[in-house]
Amino acid sequence: MSAGLVEHDNTHNAAVHRATAQRLSRAYERREATDPVIDGHPHLGVDDAYAIQKQQVAGWIESGDEIVGYKVGLTSRAMQIQTGVDQPDYGHLMRSMFELGHFPIPSTRFIQPRIEPEIAFILARPLSGPGVTMADAVRAIDCLLPAIEIIDSRIRDWQLTIVDTIADNASSGGVVLGGHPVSPRSIDPRLAGCVLHLNGEVVATGAGGAVLGSPLNSLVWLANALGSLGVTLEAGHVILSGAMTRAQSVRPGDTVSAHLAGLGSVGAVFATDTQEAA
C-alpha cells in the first residue's frame, strides 16, 4: 500500500470517527436511540470504537465535565459469549454521571436504562500499566464500596456489537455508590455474594467471581489496558469492576437495592413521571 493510500484511509477514518461521535452526542441530547455504529461502516474495529469514545469524552471535558474514573464492561462469561468476545472493555466515568442513593434519579436522563450491582474500587494512589500485577493493584486500593451502575445505550434496542458498545462509552449511564468504605484487607471480593432487589423482590443473585473470575482481575486488566495507551489510573479514581448479576431494566418509579456480603448495601430510586414534572 502506498503512503498516499494510507493517508487517505486515515483521513477517511477520522471523518467517520467524528461523524459517529457527533451522532452519539445527538442521541444523548435528544434522549433518542440511534442506529448501530457499524451500520454502513462494517470495517470499524475495536481501535476505531475507542477513538470514537475518546472524541466524545474530549467533548464532555471541553464543556466542563471531568474524568473521575472508569468502568470495566463485558466481564461476565455470559456477556462475552453474547457479544462474541473474549476480552472485557472499558468506558469513562465522568463527574456528571454520579447520583446519590435516596434522591430520586430523573429517568429522563436515560434512554433505555438497566442497572447492575457492582463492586467499586477507590484508588489511594496512581496505578500505571503495563505490567501491573495483582499485588500492585491491591496495594493501590484505598477502599471498596458497593455500587449500582446504571447502564444505558444510545444504540436502538441495545442491538450491540463490541464496536457499538465501546464507541458508546461502554454503555455507561450513571453510578450510585454506597457510603461504607471497606478495606481490601478485610474482604475477598471474589467470594462476596450479591443480592439484587427490584421493587422489593429478589430479581438476581451472584458473586464477585462472576466478574472475570474476580473483580480484582478487572482492575488489573484496566490498569494494563490503559497503561499500554499511556494513561494512568489516578488516586481518587473510581473503578467499577463489572456486573455481579445479569442487568435488569428499570422504569420511572422503580426502586432498586443491592446487598453485598461484607460491603453493606446501596440503593437507587428512579423518579416517577410526576416527580420529574414537578
Binding site: L191, G193, C194, V195, A207, A261
Partner: protein
C-alpha cells in the same frame, strides 16, 4: 409404546422409573401416556419407589427440594417447590468420581445443605423454628439425572422421578448456622476452572431457611417428619451444568468452603 394401553397405576410408574434408572435407559413422560396422572399420583409413585429402595436395603438419609427458584417455578407453571427422598446410596464419598457410565445424562448444581440436629415436624413450621433444628450448614453439589428423555417432563413426571435425584456430595466444613447470613452466602460455580455462574442463598425462596420450613410442612401433609441427622438439600443455587466424563465441577462458597467433583 405400541399396542393397547395398559391401565396405569402409581405402582407401575414407580417400577418403570426405577427400571429406567437401573438400565440407564430414559423413558418418555408419564403424563403424555396417562392423562389422569396428577401430583397426588406422582407423590404416591415417589413414596412407593423409595419404599422399594428401602426394601432392597437402602436407607433414607434426608430430603431434597426442587423448583426453589422463581425462574424454575415459572418454567413449570407452579408456585411452590417440590420435595424428594435421598438415600444412603446417593451420597458420594469425598474424592469419589461421579460414575457417569452408570448414569443417563447427569448434571451438577451447587446447593446449601442443612444437617438436622433434632426432629422437625410440621405443620406450621416457620423459617425461624426450622433453623433451630439445624445442627450445621454445609456446602454441597447435587448430581441430578432425569429418567426422562432429554430432561423433558411435566411437574407430576419429575415428582414421580424423585425430582431427578441421583447423587450428592457435601463439603467437609460444617458451620453452625448462628452468625451466617444465608441469603448473602455467595457461591461461584466453576467448570474446568472457569466461572460459569454465581448466586447466593437468596436464590432459594429468598433464604434456604424457607426451603427447610417448606419441607417440614410438606412432609407433615404426608404424615411424616424430618428426622434428626437427616440432610436437607435446599435446591440448586444456579442452573445445573451437564457433567461429561473428564469434566471437573467446583462450587466455592463465601463461608462454606469449596466442593470439587470430577466426572469419569
Amino acid at each position: 409404546m405400541a399396542g393397547p394401553e395398559r391401565s396405569w397405576t402409581s405402582e407401575i410408574v414407580a417400577e418403570l422409573l426405577l427400571d429406567a434408572e437401573a438400565r440407564r435407559t430414559p423413558t418418555e413422560g408419564i403424563a403424555s401416556r396417562w392423562p389422569e396422572f396428577d401430583l397426588d399420583a406422582a407423590y404416591r409413585a415417589q413414596d412407593l419407589a423409595v419404599r422399594l429402595r428401602v426394601a432392597r436395603g437402602e436407607r433414607i438419609v434426608g430430603v431434597k427440594l426442587g423448583l426453589t427458584s422463581v425462574a424454575k417455578q415459572r418454567q413449570m407453571h407452579v408456585d411452590t417447590p417440590s420435595i424428594a427422598w435421598l438415600t444412603d446410596t446417593m451420597e458420594l464419598a469425598p474424592g469419589t468420581a461421579v460414575p457417569t457410565d452408570r448414569l443417563i445424562h447427569p448434571r451438577a448444581e451447587p446447593e446449601i445443605v442443612f444437617v438436622l440436629g433434632s426432629e422437625l415436624c410440621g405443620p406450621g413450621v416457620t423459617a425461624a423454628r426450622a433453623m433451630q433444628s439445624v445442627a450445621s450448614v454445609v456446602g454441597g453439589i447435587e448430581i441430578i439425572d432425569s429418567r426422562f428423555t432429554g430432561f423433558s417432563f411435566t411437574l407430576p413426571d419429575v415428582v414421580a422421578d424423585n425430582n431427578s435425584s441421583s447423587r450428592y456430595i457435601t463439603g467437609s466444613l460444617q458451620l453452625p448456622p448462628d452468625g451466617l447470613d444465608l441469603a448473602l452466602e455467595g457461591c461461584l460455580l466453576e467448570v474446568d476452572g472457569q466461572v460459569v455462574d454465581s448466586a447466593t442463598g437468596a436464590a432459594i425462596l429468598g433464604n434456604p431457611a424457607h426451603a427447610l420450613a417448606f419441607a417440614a410442612n410438606e412432609l407433615a401433609k404426608r404424615g411424616q417428619a424430618l428426622e434428626a441427622g437427616w440432610v436437607v438439600l435446599t435446591g440448586g443455587l444456579t442452573e445445573a451444568v451437564p457433567l461429561h466424563p473428564g469434566s471437573r465441577v467446583a462450587a466455592h462458597f463465601t463461608h462454606l468452603g469449596s466442593i470439587v467433583i470430577k466426572a469419569e
